[in-house]
Symmetry: C2
Subunit: 153 residues, 2 copies
Amino acid sequence: MLKLTKKADYGLMALKYLAEHPETPALSAKDVADAYGIPAQLLAKILQRLTKTGLLRSHAGMNGGYALARDARQISAYEVILSIDGPFFITSCTRGAKSCDLTPSCTIKEPLARVNDTIAGVLKSISIHDLADREHSDAAPGRDRQGLVTLTV
Amino acid sequence: MLKLTKKADYGLMALKYLAEHPETPALSAKDVADAYGIPAQLLAKILQRLTKTGLLRSHAGMNGGYALARDARQISAYEVILSIDGPFFITSCTRGAKSCDLTPSCTIKEPLARVNDTIAGVLKSISIHDLADREHSDAAPGRDRQGLVTLTV
DNA sequence: ACTATATAGGACCGATCAAGTCGCATATTC
DNA sequence: GAATATGCGACTTGATCGGTCCTATATAGT
Ligand code: SF4
Ligand code: SF4
């Protein structure tokens, strides 16, 4: 329950890795997979998905690979999860097609929808850059960087 | 991914229902199940779980049933989910026993752990009472009730 | 041209887990 | 003692996740 898929996990790791190597023009799926021990074929498909949704730019052939399509600051964890796992919903209803059959009688779907939005907001407030540049975290200048999320049930 | 189990859903609904009927000494699992169309046997086991974790008080026999063990304000959604679905973790690692085998090389588990805490905080800030008393939401007095959650990746 | 490298993507499989059912034991009230 | 209700474990079914395999295509270097 409420568990991130490993695919999304891997995707985040890969994007972070790409963000940490801005000098290289492109890194292959195998490069990234080897760096962490992720199954190469699996990661390949994940990166393909991220490419199709526009988060990555790919280049086939030798010395090919993937590179971030945007600045790491402009890519949110939410987008990554969305790309890999599809629409983000914590409840079974709101899942377009075959939802929970007691949707009409349910009285908590509205409040839960708000919780859903809140969590989505948290994810949206996290960028790949945030994951990557951990080292300067404490040495950050006066204005501490922190996302404020308001939750009104 | 990141989806609440229906069991937790049902549990929240049931608790809310109990919170809305404070006059009755106890409501049976069947009562609640019929009120929403939840499979009775399934809900029974959920309520038993909630009883075992101390969120509900049960009474067997005729006119028996369940009642909230505490005030609805003192029961958080987090506790409910925890009781029904077990420990709350969005990642596969930190799952005590058989975790992800690339835990050592993973570089995002720490940031994700912080996200985990943030989401847990959101859930903790929601009480059964919040789910139940929806009607006076807009008519609330000056100080608007809203949970502030700080997220520092 | 040929080959090595790399992306693109479909088919498939096994393990796990959620959801729900069944059966039986126990407690309580009438 | 019958009706009601909790308590609890075993079980079945279906979906989803994690992962593999196989093929097609694109590109760079020799
Ligand atoms: S309808 Fe109510 S019970 Fe069914 S999934 Fe949505 S929230 Fe959960
Ligand atoms: S170790 Fe990294 S990859 Fe494995 S589960 Fe934890 S976070 Fe996800």
